[in-house]
């Protein structure tokens, strides 16, 4: 071969074009399916993420309070608002250490937890949003029944909190009281 490099120029055949197109189509369709799945899962996570965390925080926070209720004062229900005294073992602010007065009430569409510490110091914590109604139930160990009202000088065994959300969904929370049934 003494001439310059030989170059073969020929167009793509139909078969090659079809194979190339089908491979691209397979790749694109699999990518599309995967991204659609990701978007779907992401939407699901977004939807349930906030609510689940809100529910878990409410459950943990209130259970923590009910676990350390003051044995002397207990809890009091006044028009759907729950008032209580509890022993707070530690807090960043000294005003809220020791015996703290608290109440849980529905303000607007928010379920708020208020604390009153020493020297009238106040603190507010938002527990749940988009609540339209709350209802309490107390299990009395003597009568062995759930009741809407609290028996005087009797700590209930369990407390149920029914939340009606603005989207008409019902949420139920149950709390156990360690001194339940004890006078």
């Amino acid at each position: 071969m003494d001439g310059p490099a030989r170059r073969q120029k020929r167009p793509l055949s139909l078969l090659e074009l079809v194979i190339g197109l089908s491979l691209t189509a397979i790749l694109l369709s699999s990518l599309f399916t995967t991204f659609r799945n990701i978007a779907k899962e992401s939407a699901q996570v977004q939807r349930i993420h906030g609510k689940s965390h809100e529910k878990a925080i409410l459950q943990l926070r209130l259970q923590q309070i009910f676990n350390s209720l003051s044995k002397k004062s207990g809890i009091l229900l006044v028009e759907n608002s729950l008032f209580f005294f509890y022993e707070n073992p530690y807090d960043l602010e000294t005003a809220f250490c020791g015996l703290v007065k608290g109440d849980l009430q529905l303000v607007g569409s928010n379920l708020l937890l208020h604390f009153t510490g020493k020297d009238g110091a106040r603190r507010e914590q938002k527990l749940f949003e988009n609540v339209s109604d709350i209802r309490w139930e107390f299990y009395d160990i003597k009568t062995k029944k759930w009741s809407d009202s609290l028996k005087k000088k009797r700590v209930p065994l369990q407390v149920k909190l029914h939340l009606t959300l603005t989207d008409k969904q019902e949420q139920l929370f149950i709390f156990q009281l360690p001194n339940g049934g004890v006078k």
Partner: protein, 147 residues
């Protein structure tokens, strides 16, 4: 040197032939592209799945807590003699629409005399539920069943 290049067959200029890709080469290229694209797809999806499973676990723990509260009330009227196994089916809310199975083992672990001299029973409930993760969710709760 130039003469040598011209005469020796070893220094003959290479013959360049442009030939089309064969199907095997095309398939190999396609496979390589797909493999390299995999991590970009796999990890976000896996991360989301982990997040969803964690949310399931969180809800499941709350539902188990509710079940244990109901069990506590039931134990007041029907105390367990020695040991009892209860099958458990936990159904999560409509949004999650999944159910998990497990069991509760209730055992009488002892008794205690209270200040008034009355005997109260000590019951331990062990819960084991197969959750979204490989390891099952385990909880234990002790109840004082007052007379």
């Amino acid at each position: 040197m130039q003469n040598l290049r011209a005469t020796s067959p070893l220094f003959e200029p290479t013959l360049k032939i442009k030939r089309p890709f064969i199907l095997l080469e095309l398939l190999i290229a396609f496979a390589l592209v797909s493999i390299s694209a995999l991590p970009f797809i796999r990890y976000p999806l896996q991360h989301l799945r982990w997040e969803v499973s964690d949310l399931y676990v969180m809800e499941l723990e709350r539902e188990i807590d509710k079940t244990l509260s109901k069990l506590q009330i039931k134990l007041f009227s029907e105390p367990v003699e020695s040991e009892k196994e209860i099958l458990l089916k936990v159904r999560l809310n409509e949004e999650m629409s999944r159910s998990f199975q497990g069991k509760i083992t209730v055992k009488r672990t002892g008794q205690k005399i209270d200040k008034a001299g009355k005997e109260c029973l000590l019951m331990t409930a062990k819960v084991e539920v197969k959750g979204p993760h490989k390891a099952p969710i385990k909880t234990e709760r002790t109840f004082f069943i007052l007379p």
